[in-house]
Structure formats: C-alpha cells, structure tokens
C-alpha cells in the first residue's frame, strides 16, 4: 500500500477531524505516498535474526508509587492558569462546542 488513494486521505482526514478541499486531497495523497515509500525502504532490511523489541529505550518496569505529589513540585500547577488559556471557559469548566450524536468516548 505504498500508493495512497484519495479515499485513503479522505478516511485519514476524517479520523483526524481535518477538513480538506478536493485539491488538498490530491496534493496530500501524493505527498503522504512519498513519505510512506521513503519509510518502506526499511522493508528491504533482513530482520530475520533480530529480536522484536517493545520500545527504543530498552527499559522495563518504570513505575511510580501510588503517592500524591507534594505541593510545590513542578506538576503542581494552578489549574485556573490552564483553564484561562482555553478558548472558552465557564467558571472552572472548559467550554467546547457540543458534540452530539457523534462518537462516543473510546473507554
């Protein structure tokens, strides 16, 4: 599937919630195809003797204890600073355009 069709782009742009024009469908089909073809060169490498790995760091078991962070640590932000940066908010609630009858959450 090195050559992406306009339908592929339509599908991808839908999944990414991007609104594209017909001209853009055509342009991105060409551009994205060449990206895929470039990466596809990897398929010519013989990996039969290489073990599959699950991450690039080689680490396992990086876990954190179930303890609430202390005040003053970097992650301890003032939430209103973030809420105020949202395009719209309603008190402490972030306001978005209603999404009705569309996707349900993935969880």
């Amino acid at each position: 599937m090195n050559e992406l069709s306009r339908d592929d782009i339509r599908h991808l742009s839908h999944l990414s919630r991007l609104e594209l024009t017909d001209e853009e469908y055509a342009r991105y089909a060409t551009q994205l195809s060449s990206v895929v073809q470039y990466v596809a060169q990897l398929q010519s490498v013989d990996t039969s003797s290489v073990q599959a790995h699950l991450g690039v760091t080689g680490l396992t078991n990086v876990l954190a204890d179930d303890v609430v962070r202390e005040k003053g640590t970097p992650a301890d932000i003032e939430p209103m600073d973030v809420i105020n940066k949202a395009p719209r908010h309603h008190g402490r609630l972030i306001e978005v355009r209603a999404v009705l009858g569309g996707e349900v959450g993935a969880a």
């Binding site: 876990l63 954190a64 962070r69 992650a75 939430p79 569309g102 959450g105």
Partner: protein
C-alpha cells in the same frame, strides 16, 4: 428454557475504576467525585505537550489481583498502546490503553446455583489497564462543559467471551463481577457513580429454512445498571430479529453497529457503523516501557496470588447450603465477610454467625477480643437466651465495655439476663409434677409427645425462676423415658 425463536449470544465489556490514591499516569489525586471541576489535574492528565506519563504501580498490582481472582494467565511482558479518538473528554486525543499485550489473558467466572454447585461458567478474553476519560456535561446553547478530574483515573476493562446466553444471566454475571472486584478490594464499583460501567456486545442465532442465521453484532454502550443490562439485551435481540424478519439491512450488513442505551426511554439508539479496530490507529506508547511483572517482588503474580482474599464463590461452596439466603447479603459486605470467617474460625457454627451478623451487627462491630465467643458460650450453655440478649444488646455492650474486668457473665447477671438453673430444684420439681399428673404422663407414654410442653411448663412454674427451659425439657424427657 426460552420460548423465543432465537438464541442470545452476548459478551460484556466491563470497566471499573480502581480505588488507588492517585491517577494512572500522574500523581494527581484520584478523586473524580466531590472536588471542584478541574482541580485534580496536572500537565500530564491535561495532555499538555512535553509531559511524561508514569504508570501507577498500585494500579498494575490491583489489575493483576483481578486477573488472579479470575484465574487469568498473567503474561511475562505486557505493554501500553495509544488508542486514538477525538472527543473533548480526552485532552490528548488518545487514550493510553493496552491492545495486544494486556496484563491479564483469559480467565473465567463461575455462576453458582443456590446449593453452591457451578451452574454456568463465563470465560474471559482479557483484563487490561487503561485510563478513564474526563466528564462532559451538555449545556444549553450548543456547548458542552469539560471537567478533567476523572481524566487519567485508572480503569480496568474486563472483557468476557460471548458466553452469555440470556439477559438474566448477563445481569447476574455483572452483579457477580461487581461483587468480585469489591471482594478483591480494588474498586468500589458503584454503578450509580459510574465507577463501574458496561458495554454489551450482542447478536442472535436462529434457524431459518434449514440454516443457522447469526446476525451481525451490535455494541450497546452506556449500559450502566444491572437492570439496564438485562433490558438492553432483550430489547436489542428482539430488534435484530424483527429487522431480519422484515428483510431489513441487517441481512446483508457485515460490520458491527455501535449504539447507546437510553435509560429514560429504554431504547437502543444506533449511532454509527463501528470504526474498525485499525481506525483507532493503535500504536505502542513510546513514552512508557513495557512491564515485566515477574521481575518485581511486589508485583510478582506468584506472590500476589497468596494475598488474594477468599473469594465469594469459595465461601458459597462451603456455606451456601448451611446458611441459605443470608449468605448473599454477607458476601456483599467486606466487613461482614471478615466477621463471618473470623467467628467460624473461632468455632461458632456458620448459621449462628450469619444470624448474628443480621440480628446484632452493632455488637459485632464494637466487640473486643473474646466478647463474641463469651456471649455465644452463655447462650450455648443455656445461661442466657439469644432473644433476651438481642433485646438488651445496646445496654449489654455498654455494660460489658464499662470496665476491662467485666465478663459477659457479669453483664448478663447485672442486666437480669441469666437463666438460673439449679439441678436439685429442677429434679424435685419434676418428681412432684410427674406424681401430680399421672394422666399427662400416661398420654405422653402412649405417644402424645406434645403434652411435654404442659409438663415442662408445670416444672418451670414450680422451680420458680431456677430452671432453664431447654434443660428442663431434656431432663423431663430423660425422666419419662425411664
């Protein structure tokens, strides 16, 4: 069993929020309820750029415990994946979940008959760990409000195989699973608070002109009570059958439908053709290394399995026959399960313990070492009746605990609950009553055993408060048998 023209094929995907202190990938407080909106948030769970999620060790442990309780296989390695979707409840536009290498694989949960025997077995596909989404409230004026206190709360997903064959069985299965996660102590699983939620996968099979028809699956989301599970399955199955019989599009459709359960109207609302699994564009989460649980002392399943509490089905298999219906209410309360097991271990009969848990719960909850057995000893020996004890249980408890030296017998004495029994008085009273009532004695000996109540009553009267009815009854029987 069913007079319906079709068979149900049902599987459940059950989500439960874990009761950890902190969220899944950040150290925000795990408290989606009772906080001001957007207070328990940080750069990680807000999905801000440049942040690094770190999995919660305790959440991993609790997930493994659930897997062990279901007798799942716990693989050597499991990993995290990103599942992409766009919805305002997910600030990152993906959910960190587990796709092909979950923490727990397989497993099963048995549903038992009232006598404790296995009635049916529901197998599991998997149990994996992921993060919950935030909450959306639809407001007036075409807007929604987002609260991310729940975003990133640890969530397990328990996926059954399509082994369920009726709406009632599915409801029972969900209740049983709720009981199990509570018994293991990993989730409060309150469905009204959304701590446990359920998606139902359903299709039907039936014979039609000599072939077996299987309809395409509908996934019903948002089925958030045990009653709704039962209703939604019956409703959707019938809808599928009707659509098929009316020669509707269900005859040719091959994809899965996604729908939502509307609790107010009792309707299944079809939403869209489900995006294929690839459309979530799963890929390995690059920021979180895999988990190798057998390499960690505190997460090693071989060690953890020994810390599992006794599970409801094991308790049922031992005591369901003896205790009967009271056992179910005990099983739904972890504290009561503890009392139940403790006092049985100390030598009280299961039936008696179950009865006390129902009748004198306050006494059990404040009882100190030895109190319960001491009281039971008085009742067993006939020195005090249970009904007299129950009537004054509050006073009894207060008096018993008024000083360290106070014994149960002292207290019973003070409150006038002791039934005195003077064997000499009783024996002479029996002799007198027998001598005075030759007709009653003759009746008893010729087979009218009920007359013994009269004789015992006479003896009690004569003994004037120095006899215990149970002992008198035995003594009278023994005397008349001579």
């Amino acid at each position: 069993m069913s007079s319906l023209p079709y068979r149900y094929i049902v599987g459940l995907e059950v989500h439960a929020e874990l009761n950890t202190e902190t969220k899944m990938f950040c150290r925000c407080v795990n408290k989606p309820f009772g906080s001001e909106p957007n207070t328990n948030v940080c750069p990680v769970c807000l999905g801000l750029p440049g942040t690094l999620p770190v999995p919660n060790r305790e959440a991993v442990k609790k997930t493994i415990l659930v897997g062990l309780a279901l007798e799942s296989t716990i693989p050597k390695i499991s990993k995290w994946d990103r599942k992409h979707y766009f919805y305002p409840d997910s600030p990152k536009a993906y959910q960190i979940s587990q796709s092909d290498m979950p923490l727990c694989v397989g497993g099963h949960l048995d549903l038992l008959a009232p006598d404790g025997s296995v009635e049916s077995t529901v197998r599991f596909e998997r149990v994996h760990l992921e993060e919950d989404a935030g909450k959306l409230q639809h407001a007036a004026g075409g807007v929604s409000h987002v609260d991310l206190n729940r975003a990133g709360v640890p969530l397990i997903e328990m996926v059954s195989k399509p082994d369920l064959t009726s709406p009632e069985q599915a409801r029972r299965f969900l209740q049983e699973l709720r009981l199990l996660v509570r018994a293991v102590g990993v989730s409060d699983a309150d469905m009204e608070k959304g701590q446990m939620r359920c998606d139902v996968n359903i299709n039907i099979a039936f014979e039609h002109e000599g072939t077996t028809i299987k309809t395409p699956i509908t996934e019903v989301k948002n089925v958030n009570s045990t009653r709704a599970v039962e209703r939604s399955i019956a409703t959707e199955a019938q809808r599928q059958y009707d659509e098929w019989m009316a020669d509707g599009p269900i005859r040719t459709r091959t994809n899965k439908l996604t729908s939502g359960w509307d609790e107010d109207t009792n309707e299944v609302k079809i939403q869209r053709a489900k995006e294929g699994a690839n459309d979530y564009r799963y890929f390995p989460e690059p920021d979180i290394p895999p988990v190798a649980v057998y390499e960690l002392a505190d997460l090693n399943p071989k060690t953890l399995v020994k810390t599992l509490p006794e599970l409801p089905n094991s308790i049922r298999k031992q005591y369901a026959k003896e205790v009967g219906a009271d056992l179910e209410s005990i099983l739904s309360d972890r504290e009561e399960i503890e009392y139940f097991k403790q006092y049985i271990a100390e030598g009280m009969p299961a039936k008696v313990v179950a009865n006390w848990i129902k009748q004198v719960p306050d006494f059990l909850s404040v009882a100190q070492d030895g109190d319960v057995l001491a009281v039971y000893g008085l009742i067993k020996s006939g020195d005090m009746s249970f009904s007299a004890f129950k009537e004054k249980v509050a006073q009894f408890t207060a008096d018993l605990h008024s000083s360290r030296e106070r014994t149960a017998k002292d207290t019973a004495q003070t409150l006038g609950l002791l039934q005195v029994h003077d064997e000499n008085v009783v024996q002479s009273a029996i002799a007198e009553v027998i001598a005075a009532n030759p007709q009653a004695v003759a009746d008893y000996k010729s087979g009218n055993e009920r007359i013994i109540g009269f004789i015992v009553g006479q003896v009690m009267k004569k003994a004037a408060g120095k006899a215990q009815p149970a002992h008198v009854q035995e003594a009278v029987k023994a005397e008349l048998a001579k």
